[in-house]
Amino acid sequence: MARNVPEWLAPTTLEEALDLRARYGDEVTVVAGGTFIGILMSQRIMMPTVFLALRNIRELAFIVGNLFDRTTAGGLPLRIGAMTTHRAVERSAIIRQHWPILAYTFSLVASPRVRNQATVGGVLADADHASDPPALLHALDARAIARSVGGQREIPVEELITGYYETSLRPNELLVEVRIPPGVERAVYRKFRSRSSEDRPCVAVAAVQTNGKLRVVVGAVAERPQYFPDICSLANSQQLSRELAAEIGCRYAESIHPISDARGSAEYRRRVIAVEVRRALEDFLSDRLSEANRESGVGGLYTVEED
């Protein structure tokens, strides 16, 4: 009888992992936390024959924050190792204090059980349109570091995710680190769930102001996070106001061709996009936030509770 027990490669060093990746290329399925592949396998959508498990590579789990001069353009980025779990990001003292928007967004993913497994590298490399972190990381202009035996390259998250479960990673590369550039002044993430509190977003909006520039990214509505620099640049030429927030919301809704699924039809999503983008920008304007901002004393980086 055919015995299809998949092969399980579990290197303990990055060097070893890169060698295996080079040797197997597309033949190998890279597994980080396994929360995504587990679902695909139990639904028999995917039946890998060789796994490359990164779990034992300790050097890939780290958080290195730059505690000084974070808002200065010349500062250093926050660095998160690919095998860092969602839960570790959510609970990291450095991130909670200085990058609360990251802690908050990762805390919204599924349940603690999932967050204890799911990793920062995994959620980007899976490129699942309905995950929370990619839209925020895109809005923060985060960079993915891809390594291969031949060297290393930096890929903006904007260019990393190319479609449904598609990335620009090459078959010999591993995503090893995520870097978040400094200079973030304001950041909001709004997760709109149409069903259970543990559901994935129906519409996700990340709005970030970095060095005076606004980036609004809408997730979970199309094959990849949606970003329209031209619409965002409206905020460069004029002071952000409620009217402008509404206009940016409407323009985003007009520009996106949303998907239809169990979380909402395309028509419904379009309406919610206009509302939630507007609300994200209104959150920038609200007194409550300014108040929280002053109290936290972290120079304009904050997160908000969901409505």
């Binding site: 009888m1 055919a2 015995r3 299809n4 027990v5 679902i39 139990s42 639904q43 349940s111 709109f192 769930r193 149409s194 069903r195 259970s196 509190s197 543990e198 559901d199 994935r200 129906c202 169990a262 909402g264 039809s265 419904y268 309406r271 919610v272 509302v275 939630e276 409505d307």
Partner: protein
């Protein structure tokens, strides 16, 4: 005493193992309706036991109410997921791999996925004939309509609705829909079968050991006492673990293998096994200007999927529950149980009452608005009281609707304001007729053994019965043992369904203890409730004992997205006398949470007959953070009889929430009340705002209008 559920010592059905046991997997049809032309198992190796349609062609048919099922699909598959073959191998993995080697050739047939379409002319027939079952679960007059997709027709004829509507000042009419739902019990269906000579033994998670034994006896041509069913505790059931599920397949595999065979379903297979009936209810309700109800016409389309299962019973209970606990002189009910090419639907906590209460109680609020009457007042004017006759002709006794309703209104602050608040009331019948029997044996060490068929599925029935026995025997509960039910030992019981066990077994227990005191070593007790309805007129005794309650909800709506928050949720449930308070409270909370899932987002999604969300990521059930401020009261009375309360708090939840939305002019007729549906309802309200019809205004606007009218008439 450490709870075996906490220590992990408990052995559920899926933990049962035997030496040399094989593991089963099932091959399922990918097509919703097809002829099976060929099943080729020749590629499967000899060390795997294969069960093909030819192996079961000669064994009997089964079905708890309509005998419409075969052990495997023979010649024809009727839903995407219908078992066509099964294998047993030393490991699950080997069994799984063997399935890939079975080649089946199909010829697709036209299929039907909608109950209304299924009864329209020219619809493909899911079954050619609808033979009535000889199982005692077919306890009422079956009315299959041969040559159609209707496997049971239930009617109530009380008074003359034509005359009633002619005398009505106001008539409201609306169609309500509810989606299919999955039970999502934690432990999947699990069974192990083995043969000892010509004697069949099955360990299985079942709520219905005796009904199961009866159908298996028919399948294998055995006397019932040649079959032994053992029922380990279950990790949840909610109606899903009733009658024959996979036990017949496992028994056939075990017979062929000559070894024990075990089957445990994968999670995704649960959506292909048994679900809740999607239903469409049309309600026409007429009243006088003073709010007195005069006539009601209820039509139900109850989608039972590819096999009837207990759908006829569900359609019947839905039919009379949709009349509601009201005095109405003219009532007509037409409830049809209809086949479609979807996975089978059967018992689900609430058993037709949820769909009925949703439609009936939403209609009451629509009527209240049309009459400019407070919805609470409208209900109080019409609700049944002791001595009233229900539309079935039975005289109501031990009636508590008014106190339940008043408690609900008070809890929600009804008199302060009604903005965003909703109320409802419900009645739910209990299995009638039915019989429960129990035996108690006194041991030499001063302890007692209770021999009772009641299944433990997490509802705490064994504990409640032990408490009752200990009280009657005058001993500590620790002195009363409740061995795992085994049909070789325990006396007959109809089944562990319809919230009947504590009530019926409690009464049988009183007899058993009396008998024990008389006889010394062993005592036997029995409780029988009699009644039943004529399926053509709906006259008789629907229920010997009514489950009664009321619900209240308060919502806060995001008008721009349709997403709403249930701020408060309350139920008031008549309990008579509470036997095990923590257990009763947990049952009530669990029912409310399940009702919340139904109200907000639980929905089976289909595309061309295929289940699209057969996993717990795409199919959402409520999570802890979804729970509102959730409270309840268990209404008790001194010296009252015990009332079952395993399900009563589920049906009022969607209706109370729906009525809370309605108080804001948001009129939703379909469950679940998804954010998108609510947003559409808000759009309709806003579009109709100028027309000033009662349906599209908020309660406050209506109250203002009402005041205006009163002033005008002064």
């Amino acid at each position: 005493m450490s709870d075996p559920r906490v220590t992990g010592a408990i052995r559920y059905a899926q933990d049962v193992e035997f030496e040399g046991m094989l593991h089963a997997r099932i091959l399922r049809s990918p097509y919703p309706h097809a002829r099976v032309l060929r099943v080729d198992t020749s590629a499967v190796s000899d060390d795997v036991v294969v069960l093909a349609p030819e192996d079961v062609r000669d064994v009997g048919h089964y079905g708890c109410q309509i005998k419409d099922q075969t052990v495997l699909a023979i010649d024809c598959v009727r839903f995407a997921g219908d078992p066509v073959a099964a294998v047993a191998a030393p490991t699950r993995r080997e069994a799984e791999e063997a399935l890939n080697l079975i080649d089946v050739e199909y010829e697709e047939l036209p299929a039907v996925y909608d109950a209304v379409e299924a009864v329209s002319e020219g619809a493909p027939l899911v079954h050619e004939h609808h033979p009535i079952s000889d199982n005692d679960a077919a306890y009422f007059g079956m009315r299959p309509q041969q040559g159609t997709n209707i496997c049971h027709r239930f009617r109530i004829r009380h008074g003359d609705v034509q005359e009633g509507f002619a005398n009505a000042d106001v008539i409201v009419e609306e169609t309500f829909r509810t989606a299919g739902a999955q039970h999502a019990h934690m432990e999947p269906h699990a069974s192990v079968a083995l043969w000892k000579g010509d004697r069949l033994e099955i360990w299985t998670g079942t709520q219905t050991p005796f009904n199961l034994r009866m159908d298996l006896a028919g399948i294998f041509g055995l006397l019932e006492d040649r079959i032994r069913i053992v029922c380990p505790p279950m990790g949840g059931a909610f109606g899903a673990k009733t009658f024959v599920r996979y036990e017949a397949i496992v028994a056939c595999l075990a017979r062929k293998a000559g070894r024990p065979v075990k089957n445990v379903l994968d999670r995704n297979e649960e959506w292909l096994t048994l679900n809740r009936h999607p239903a469409i209810l049309h309600i026409k309700l007429g009243a006088r200007a003073d709010g007195i109800l005069v006539a009601k016409h209820v039509e139900c389309w109850v989608d039972t999927g590819a096999y009837a299962d207990c759908g006829p019973g569900v359609a019947q209970k839905m039919g009379y529950a949709a009349v509601g606990p009201y005095r109405i002189p003219h009532v007509r009910v037409d409830s049809n149980c209809i086949y479609t090419n979807l996975p089978p639907n059967g018992a689900f906590r609430g058993y037709g009452a949820m769909q009925a209460v949703w439609a009936s109680e939403r209609a009451m609020d629509i009527l209240a608005r049309r009459l400019y009457i407070d919805p609470l007042e409208l209900r109080l004017k019409n609700v049944l009281v002791d001595g009233d006759r229900f539309c079935t002709g039975e005289v109501m006794h031990d009636v508590h609707f008014i106190e339940c309703l008043k408690a609900a209104a008070e809890k929600i602050g009804w008199t302060e304001h009604r903005h965003g608040k909703g109320l409802c009331v419900l009645m739910k019948g209990m299995q009638t007729p039915s019989r429960a029997s129990i035996a108690i044996a006194a041991n030499e060490d001063g302890t007692y053994d209770v021999h009772c068929a009641t299944a433990e599925m997490g509802q705490g029935a064994w504990h409640s019965i032990r408490l009752l026995a200990a009280e009657l025997l005058g001993v500590e509960p620790e002195c009363v043992h409740f061995p795992v039910p085994d049909t070789d030992i325990v006396p007959y019981d109809t089944r562990t369904t319809s919230s009947r066990s504590t009530y019926m077994m409690g009464r049988a227990l009183v007899e058993a203890v009396r008998d024990l005191k008389k006889r010394g070593e062993i005592g036997y007790g029995e409780c029988v409730n009699t009644g039943g309805l004529d399926p053509d007129t709906g006259q008789g005794i629907a229920s010997s004992h009514w489950h009664q309650g009321a619900g209240a909800a308060e919502v806060r709506v995001d008008e721009e997205t349709g997403k709403f928050e249930v701020v408060k949720l309350y139920t008031s449930i008549y309990a008579g006398r509470v036997v095990n308070r923590p257990g009763a409270e947990l049952q009530n909370e669990g029912s409310m949470m399940m009702g919340l899932g139904t109200a907000l987002f639980e929905e089976m999604a289909f595309a061309d007959g295929q289940v699209m969300n057969a996993n717990l990521s795409d199919y959402n059930i409520p999570a802890a953070a979804d729970l509102p401020d959730l409270t309840y009261d268990l209404v008790e009375q001194e010296r009252a009889e015990i009332h079952g309360l395993g399900e009563t708090a589920l049906p009022p939840v969607p209706a109370a929430i729906g009525n809370a939305l309605h108080s804001l002019g948001i009129h939703v007729t379909e469950l679940p009340m998804s954010a998108e549906r609510v947003l559409h309802a808000i759009d309709r309200r806003n579009a109709g705002a100028q027309s000033l019809t009662p349906e599209t205004n908020t309660d406050e606007e209506v109250a203002a209008q009402s005041e205006q009218m009163e002033k005008g008439s002064d």
